[in-house]
């Protein structure tokens, strides 16, 4: 079986400029910093030598505590962040489903559908053909021409999900999304994700909901402080992950 995703020796280091995030040109000039190259930058290793591969047509779960590097990994897979070292091979079109997707607050729902579709490689004609379906799935017919900033987080989520699933990617990256939306809509999401799996789609799932990993995933990976702590069958990985919480003494 061919691999949908292959990650080899991936590391990512972020630069942090203390003490403020956005520096100004004035400061840089006054401190003479502009003539030196990023001297005081602190380096933070978000991912360290990560290796794994996801066979096409399978579902792969990633678990880990907050700040373990899960979202960074997904963003690198999408090409948003660039790896510091190592490489990634992605076979097929890939859509990231995370809070908000690539939505622009000032753009209407309609315009956001177009931008995201075009970014994911569809032609305008294909998009127009799919447009009604996307809107209907998200149940947003009335609001589709309103600016995105007026949408509730549930509405944004519905639209994000609908765009991602309806543009028919080969690989879906899901970042903690299934919990959002009401019962009826999350039922609909789960149905269409199942449908996506049946059609041979590959899913990479990042979640804190261990039951989902147990029930859905063919393989799981536990990411801790940017390194792969365990990888393999979901039961085994989750057992180890669970144990790591037991080690922390409960302080009540």
């Amino acid at each position: 079986m061919s691999d949908a995703i292959q990650v080899r020796n991936l590391s990512k280091t972020f630069k942090r400029y203390p003490p403020r995030k956005h520096r100004t040109l004035k400061e840089a000039v006054l401190n003479g910093e502009i003539f030196r190259s990023s001297t005081e930058a602190k380096f933070i290793e978000a991912l360290r030598d990560v290796n794994f591969s996801v066979p096409a047509g399978t579902t792969f779960g990633i678990v880990g505590r907050n700040g373990a590097g899960k979202s960074t990994l997904l963003k690198i897979l999408c090409g948003i962040h660039k790896p510091t070292t190592g490489s990634i091979a992605v076979g097929g079109r890939l859509a990231l489903l995370s809070l908000g997707l690539g939505f622009h607050g000032e753009f209407s729902g309609r315009e956001n559908i177009f931008i995201n579709g075009l970014v994911l490689g569809l032609t305008p004609r294909q998009l127009r053909a799919r447009f009604d379906e996307i809107v209907a799935f998200a149940e947003l017919e009335e609001f589709i021409d309103a600016p995105m900033r007026t949408y509730s987080s549930g509405m944004q989520m519905r639209l994000a999900f609908s765009v991602a699933i309806n543009i028919a990617p080969d690989i879906l990256l899901v970042d903690e999304i299934l919990a959002v939306g009401d019962q009826a809509f999350s039922r609909k999401c789960i149905d269409s994700l199942n449908d996506f799996k049946r059609r041979g789609g590959t899913i990479l799932l990042v979640t804190h909901d261990l039951a989902t990993v147990r029930g859905w995933c063919d393989q799981a990976l536990w990411l801790d402080h940017g390194t792969v702590t365990a990888i393999g069958r979901p039961e085994d990985v989750l057992a180890q992950y669970d144990d790591s919480f037991a080690e922390v003494p409960a302080t009540v």
């Binding site: 995030k21 040109l25 090409g79 660039k82 091979a89 076979g91 097929g92 079109r93 028919a168």
Partner: protein
């Protein structure tokens, strides 16, 4: 250190088949490559539909959200033309190479306004699209490019107004008019280069956008908008033409009015600096864009 993201297969996006059968997957390799600056123009071409969409959207918003709509494009150069005519034409009695002062100033204000607006829009473009940049991948160069191209609509409207003024003053064009697009291209190349550079710089240093109005204000007087470049002695002309907008403005006047203040060395100097700026802007943008998502 620059990275690359490229499609190994050349399958165009349009090969997507809407039926249930998935297409042959395109393998994308993302890796870190050190020491090269790739301009990735082919990748830019693959995303042209996105570029068109962003330009169209930008134009639509500009005309929908402002009360004055399209008239804004005329009002801006018109108001400055009136002020210049009163102050420099009437009070200071500046010469205008034998051309009626109002149309003399307007011919310069139309390309100048395009350039000044392009810089302002491009500088803010990346920071204004932070949401897109941190959530999806596409060539970042599309964002400042779209904001500059959208300004061409304003330019076209104000240019039509200039043509009206031209006819009103009964000026008869010569065959030189045919060279006009070349000077406009020069303005565009310079706007792109400067705009790319400023937009990338503004991601890193957020106060760059406060510096831009200064640049355009000083630039307005460092460019022969209100006065003819013939006021400067021939000794200074070449040095003066390091500012590419000198070549643009004098070129436009040369093409429209048949003034003879543009010399070959001047236009060569202006073209050279515009091209150098274009190259610097593009390379700086490409070498810093991998950090945009981290910084924006």
């Amino acid at each position: 250190m620059v990275d690359k993201l490229e499609a190994v297969s050349d399958l165009p996006p349009s090969s997507w088949n809407p039926s249930a059968e998935p297409p042959a997957p395109v393998v994308t390799v993302i890796q870190s490559t050190q020491g090269q600056v790739a301009l990735k123009l082919a990748e830019l071409w693959r995303f042209r539909e996105l570029l068109f969409f962003l330009v169209w959207r930008d134009v639509k918003v500009r005309y929908k959200q402002t009360l004055l709509g399209a008239s804004w494009a005329i009002l801006q150069p018109l108001a400055t033309m009136i002020i210049f005519t009163v102050i420099f034409g009437r009070l200071a009695k500046l010469p205008s190479d034998g051309v009626p002062y109002p149309v003399f100033a307007l011919a310069a204000l139309v390309p100048w306004t395009f350039f000044a607006n392009a810089l302002g829009q491009a500088t803010n473009s990346l920071v204004g699209s932070a949401n897109l940049i941190t959530k999806v991948y596409f060539p970042r160069l599309i964002i400042p490019t779209a904001s500059i191209l959208a300004g061409l609509v304003d330019f076209a409207i104000s240019f039509a107004f200039l043509v009206c003024a031209y006819i009103y003053y009964g000026i008869v064009p010569s065959a030189r008019v045919l060279t006009l697009p070349l000077f406009l291209l020069l303005a565009l190349v310079f706007s792109f280069g400067f705009g790319f550079w400023l937009s990338a710089l503004n991601v890193k240093y957020r106060d760059v956008r406060h510096v831009v109005p200064f640049i355009t204000q000083i630039g307005l007087y460092a460019t022969p908008v209100a006065y003819p470049s013939s006021l400067l002695g021939p000794k200074w002309q070449l040095l003066y033409a390091i500012n590419p907008m000198v070549g643009v403005v004098e070129g436009v006047r040369w093409a429209l009015f048949g003034t003879n203040t543009l010399t070959l060395p001047m236009i060569a100097m202006s073209s050279a600096t515009a091209l150098i700026m274009f190259f610097i802007g593009l390379v700086y943008f490409r070498s810093t864009e991998r950090e945009f998502a981290d910084l924006v």
